[in-house]
Symmetry: C2
Subunit: 329 residues, 2 copies
Amino acid sequence: MSTLASIGEFGLLARLLPRLPQRRDVLLGPGDDCAVVRTRAGALLVTVDALIEDVHFRHGWLTPGALGRKAFAVNASDIAAMGGAPRWCVTHIAAPPRTPAATVDGIARGVATAAAAVGASAIGGNLSRAAELSVTVALIGDAPPRPLTRAGAREGDALYVTGRLGDAALGVRQLMRSRSARGVAVARFRAPSPRLHAGALLARRRLASAMIDVSDGLLQDLGHLCRASRVGARIDVASVPSTAAVRRAGIDLALSGGEDYELLFAVPPRRVAELTAASAELGCRLSRIGRVVSGGDIVVVDGGGVARRWRHGGHDHFRVPPHRRGRVE
Amino acid sequence: MSTLASIGEFGLLARLLPRLPQRRDVLLGPGDDCAVVRTRAGALLVTVDALIEDVHFRHGWLTPGALGRKAFAVNASDIAAMGGAPRWCVTHIAAPPRTPAATVDGIARGVATAAAAVGASAIGGNLSRAAELSVTVALIGDAPPRPLTRAGAREGDALYVTGRLGDAALGVRQLMRSRSARGVAVARFRAPSPRLHAGALLARRRLASAMIDVSDGLLQDLGHLCRASRVGARIDVASVPSTAAVRRAGIDLALSGGEDYELLFAVPPRRVAELTAASAELGCRLSRIGRVVSGGDIVVVDGGGVARRWRHGGHDHFRVPPHRRGRVE
């Protein structure tokens, strides 16, 4: 019998997605960072994601407020990846009966605070008893006139990422050793910064041909983008932005660590100059890390110039034990 | 320390709700069946709810398809309670790694099937590993020009319910005895029929002054409506619609059983004639079960004419052991 553990989250999603019927008001159905629906006044983006205890975090790793803020942020990152702006969210909190009321209170206020900080509102929610603590947020956003999807990258496009990769995975490793760990990496795990401003700018100026947020690990998400675009990619490890601490701990944290919530996007050659000129307006660092190639393979070139083909790894909840991700063969 | 078990779900929601900041595009924030937000093209309703294994159902009680359909239906019922029409939903499925892939597939298709049956679309979703199976659906709907809320009932209004109460709770009781139980009650637990047509008609013709769906039990939900409207109510048990099987098993199943997903609404005296004339168009049975009174008490009058004041009971996940609900003192 196939189970989720044997097929994996992405394998199962790929099996499911083409089967769902869609009406004409659905401009983009399942399979991208957000769905896109048409209203008489323009298009909306819709996305949903959850943070679950002992899967995405362990007890004591996040204050209730930080958990609520992060549950909003991981969804806002999906909105950023389409170039949109968050507007309204609803939250479902499931919690064991022994949970302190202050915990639920803190989570709900965390969601509301994070929403308000980017001009959105936490408009409602629900609460259920459950064996484990989880926070599910569904977020609705305004779509840009041309939402950026994972499809659209072409051979020869340059590949860029915002910010820095690997911090969150290093933070998780540090928290696994001690839940009182501190520092930049732990802070980035706890409080990711969805790149809403950068995403909106890239969509508005049509600088990117395809975009995805880096939530499952750079190579994993690059794989999603390449599959949707029917292309391959070549990545130069030396150009992947990361701290010295991440490189000391192992560059795999930056390649496959997950939870970075940065943007990965492809830029047509004729748009590179304009992107470079606009880089100061993005509000974050910008790094060119490789290029789109034909075929479906992802090739990783290390600092010594040795090229290796990358195989499926990254953050797949059903296959890979948490925080043991990534494999470059 | 206050925990969810000591405060209860409704107590905690009441504490949380007034604190959430709202922007001007939020016409109705947390605390009703749905939130209402304003777009340039009209208002949308948004709601979220989850079905969690060992809380809302037990293993073997629902096929994966029925679980998906029910997860959609419980949200559609919230849309019905505002008089709206479902449009788009996103689904988060959390499942243990040992879960058969066919289970997740069946749940996702169940959601999509239920959505399509009422003119809506399942537009996306996400999947996570978890210790227990749960399905969370967030549903967006079109709001009617004047959404019906829980507030607005006035002294002297008549109280009505659609359909029949207590079947689902009887079905749960039968399933607790044998998970191969069959019959009308089990079928109603498995496949509730959200009253979308009736809700939309009541809102469009402005026949109701306040409305709520009966998900937590008639008296519990009546309590929510009364609190929001700052009124009390008097209910005649003899007029509460239920089957002979429910009455034999105990009328508390109809008063406090939960999961009926019928509509409970108040009708101003001057609108009663029009409602009666429209009743054939509602698509379901309609029963007048009592009236709105001043003060905050809910009084239940039994078949012998004995009046008792009702105290908090019904379906509160954190306080009441599942399926042991309701108390008439």
